[in-house]
Amino acid sequence: MQTHDAKRVEIIIEAPMEGRLTDALATAGVTGFTVLPVLGGSGRSGQWTREGQVGRSGMVAVVCLVAPERLDGLLDAAFAVVQRHIGVVSVADVQVIRPTRF
């Protein structure tokens, strides 16, 4: 089946920042994304799990599929939000069907 190049950006970020991130994405013209729940994790700021949660609402994973040429805009927008916060951003090359969407 005929597929098309795209980028899969995965942003793991604190839940309280999710709305700010998706707004920033929308402003950057990225209107397609999916948010996945996160159970726990570990990083420089230590380990946490959702069970240990009253005060912190934990983190979420935001996945965006975008056309390669829109990657930079996306990363700039995302970085402006993530910058001062804990979390990680990764980008992978993928193939998508239905290119018109991205």
């Binding site: 309280p16 920042m17 069970e51 240990g52 005060g55 912190r56």
Partner: protein, 327 residues
Amino acid sequence: MVDILTLAGQNLLTPMILCFALGLAAAIARSDLTVPEAAAKMMSLYLLFAIGFKGGVAVADHGLDGQLIAALVGGVALSFALPFVAFGLLRGLTRLSALDAAAVAAHYGSISIVTFVTATSVLASRGIAAEGYMVAVAAAMEAPAIVSALWLVSRGGKGAGVQMDARLWHEILLNGSIVLLVGAFLIGFATGAPGMARIDAFIVAPFQGVLCLFLLDMGLVAGRGLRGARGVLDWRAVAFGLVMPMIGAAAGLAVALVLGLSTGGVALMMVLAASASYIAVPAAMRVALPEANPSIYLTLSLGVTFPFNLIIGIPAYVAIAVALTQG
């Protein structure tokens, strides 16, 4: 004093406190006992709804005396003022950075609704009445402390450190627990006794049982937090977590006596001032002061001050309120 200790003793033998202790012990012993997140959230919604509704019904029954406004003003003033005390204490007593100190201070100016709920059930079990509108006071005290803390940071040249926007204010003022607490209060006020008659089998009878399971989860969370935060707090910080609630309680006591609240009202105002937030404020701090270390303020609020208030604080505050208003 002795009297207070015996009270604390009795208090220790309630299912609520023992459930909290069980959770604490299970977490520290690394048991895999956990309360599902959704269930814990639902129990807190239940507790907020029940306590707000009861408060509203009480106000509908006894009518609104002008004190409501006065009490709200007093509570808001406490919430604004206490962070300055806490900040000063932290900077003088501990080695925390100005940023972390301000973040912690915000928590102690704000309130812990579970501590408040537990106090109301202690009062109820001892047959001590309190002003129904204290739940409204509780809601009003959640946010002001955040303003003071952020002002402390920006003043400290750390202006760059503060990420404050209209959106965050909106999130703070309309955060779920405030909305539900105030909403349930208004619904209870509007429907009064007839409304209560319809749902008391749901919000009155099982209340203490639900509180037990909720405190079990609080114990698990506090215990896991303490385990994870080993080494984050030195003895100075811990000392702050034990001293600050007493200072808060004293301030709350003064305000309550000036306001001329009832015995129960005095006790609850002390509890509110003595308690530290662990839901609304931490979320706000993550957004506004991302560089402040969450383990510090969460461990202090949830791991040190919450248990202190639960086990020693509440019975002491109640005893003092009784002594000073009924003596």
